[in-house]
């Protein structure tokens, strides 16, 4: 088991290397001089420019900058922000760091039970009205982009009915709409997965046996059939969480939430590349960790994966 995990961690190395090289290229080889941007009005001040260049390490030759960059990243130091002069990147990040994972976790906690219940209901009433209705909602939930759904929900709930705040962050009421909107595509995805698994399981002999014993429909579905869909469902929770995490960028933009994703977008427009790149690195690390956890879960559940046989 340990060998499996170590193997997976080693397998992440090329991903992280690709991210590091790409972020270095993005931050250092771009046209335009970041020092000139920082100085703006004082661009004639040669002394100040030289001092900033030294402070940011931009006066060294590129290969040396690259080595220093890798060393800094390995020690968790992302350098200084271009937009907030003299301020270390991590200080710009630290207030936003937990918001995106928190949003994604809250949405996952909402999407899992709702999606699973909808999927079970659809499977239990296959091809009848409930099934069709749930499928129509699923198609909409999966096809419509978050921000299109958000437009209508915000208009209806916040503007017309005045029930919840339109945007912002900090209070529980402000968090409701973002979490719900973030959860919708995932809930639809989970529901579709659950429906598929359920339809498969309900063909199995033990379900027929349970019915033959005279158990009620509810007991057959929840105690016998649904339990057997839990394992594939839990192992796909990691992939779902990854999708949620990247969707936080959109939700944070819609609702003006000061999370990592919005910070990255704002930083690009402000040409604050060190901050944008630090966020990209963090996202890549988050995703790599999630994949690692999912793979480990798979391996725990299914020995064939662990022993390297084709899954």
């Amino acid at each position: 088991m340990l060998r499996f995990i170590v193997g997976r961690v080693v397998g992440l190395a090329p991903v992280l290397c690709a991210a590091i090289v790409a972020t270095f290229i993005a931050t250092r080889l771009l046209p335009g001089d970041p020092v000139a941007v920082m100085l703006s009005d004082h661009s004639a001040d040669v002394q100040m420019a030289a001092r900033l260049r030294a402070e940011y390490g931009l006066d060294k030759p590129l290969p040396e900058q690259f080595v220093r960059y890798i060393g800094d990243i390995l020690t968790g130091d992302f350098g200084l922000s271009f937009r907030y002069v003299h301020m270390p990147v991590w200080q710009v990040l630290k207030d936003s760091l937990l918001i995106s994972p928190l949003l994604a976790l809250a949405a996952l906690a909402l999407a899992l039970p709702v999606g699973a219940l909808a999927g079970v209901q659809a499977a239990a009433h296959r091809n009848r009205f409930q099934d069709t209705a749930i499928i129509v909602v699923l198609v909409a939930g999966l096809s419509l982009p978050n921000f299109a759904i958000a437009t209508f929900l915000v208009y209806l709930i916040s503007v017309k009915l005045n029930l919840l705040p339109v945007a912002g962050w900090g209070t529980f009421r402000q968090a409701i709409l973002p979490v719900v909107i973030l959860a919708i595509p995932s809930a639809a995805y989970i529901a579709r997965l659950t429906r598929t698994f359920m339809l498969e399981v309900m063909q199995q002999d033990f379900v027929r046996t349970a019915r033959a014993k005279g158990l009620t429909n509810r007991l057959v579905i929840y105690r016998h059939a649904f339990r057997n869909t839990l394992v594939p469902l839990i192992t796909s929770a990691g992939i779902i969480f990854g999708g949620l995490l990247s969707n936080t960028v959109v939700v944070e933009t819609i609702f003006n939430i000061p999370g990592l994703g919005r910070l990255a977008i704002d930083s690009i427009f402000a040409r604050d590349y060190p901050v944008a790149m630090a966020v990209v690195m963090l996202f890549v690390v988050f995703f790599a960790l999630i994949n690692l956890i999912v793979d480990t879960l798979y391996a725990l559940v299914d020995p064939r994966v662990r022993d390297g046989a084709p899954a």
């Binding site: 790409a22 972020t23 299109a148 959109v250």
Partner: protein, 290 residues
């Protein structure tokens, strides 16, 4: 990763294709939506009642009337005209991404599947590394390098989508290359390149078309998302995602822009998805809904 069902049915005859396709009500609805969007996109310069970039600063955020059927935006531009021209933007980006993705994905996947060994390992490892980046993060990375813009989203989306296509093409070729006709072609002295292009490609084209038709809806959605974030299509070129971005802050006072943009975008994506599912069932009955 889910296993891909690689059993390939022979391409259905034409009458059977239409019979299966037309029997699905949702596919016909999807097809109609796609047809309308395509015609609007194609004829947009003539259909748009006003120039899409004509500003009118005394007439900003105008409510719908007989001149501006859907009202105007923050610069007094006609919303309906911008929606119509936005259809063209969406389709042009989606088709560009699709073309690039398939050119690289199919070529690399077929080469990997046919030659195997180190070539295959190199291509598929690269694909795995690429897949580790989520598309929004990819777009942020590329936007930081190239600056926001249409080329940024096309490159970002093509980079995100080619590994999936390459995997599909590879698995299809691995199955097909065991067939007798490939041995026959090798014996006849055909070069590997010739075999890939003339013998293998026609035999894997049906599942690839299915994949493409299912993908268009997702690409349109991804383009709209990136334009919504401001990383994609830039002003004054209209895009549905960008229009919703402009409209959201004004939702309380002038909901028309955001709502009309969201509705058009949503209906278009659903249309493409319904059409894609219909094509999948009609072209390849064995690649069933998962």
């Amino acid at each position: 990763m889910t296993a891909i069902d690689v059993s390939v049915a022979p391409p259905p005859s034409r009458p059977r294709f239409w019979r299966v396709f037309l029997r699905q009500r949702s596919a016909v609805i999807g097809g109609a939506i796609v047809l309308i969007v395509a015609i609007v996109a194609l004829l947009s310069p003539w259909l748009a009642p006003h120039p899409y970039d004509a500003t009118d600063l005394v007439n900003v955020w105008a409510p719908p009337d007989s001149v501006n059927w859907l009202g105007t935006d923050k610069l007094g531009r006609d919303i309906l005209s911008r929606l119509i021209v936005g259809a063209r933007t969406s389709l042009v980006v989606a088709l560009s991404v699709l073309a690039i993705t398939f050119l690289f994905g199919v070529t690399l996947g077929m080469v990997a599947g046919y030659f195997g060994g180190r070539v295959e390992a190199a291509i598929m490892r690269t694909a795995d590394v690429t897949l580790a980046f989520p598309e929004v993060v990819f777009a942020i990375l590329i936007a930081a390098m190239l600056g926001p813009g249409v080329s940024t989203i096309i490159i970002a989306l093509a980079l995100v989508w080619w590994p999936g296509v390459a995997r599909l093409a590879r698995s299809l070729v691995i199955v097909q290359k065991e067939e007798l006709y490939v041995d026959a072609a090798i014996l006849a002295g055909a070069s590997p390149w010739h075999i890939l292009r003339v013998h293998l490609l026609p035999n894997i084209v049906a599942p690839l078309i299915v994949r493409a038709s299912v993908g268009v809806g997702f690409i349109i959605m991804a383009e709209a998302t990136l334009s919504f974030l401001g990383l994609g299509v830039q002003e004054p070129t209209p895009s549905w995602g960008g229009m919703i971005r402009d409209g959201l802050p004004a939702l309380r006072t002038d909901p028309m822009l955001a709502c009309a943009g969201s509705a058009v975008l949503g209906v278009t994506i659903i249309g493409f998805n319904l059409l894609g599912d219909g094509l999948r069932d009609a072209l390849d009955p064995r690649l069933h809904r998962s």
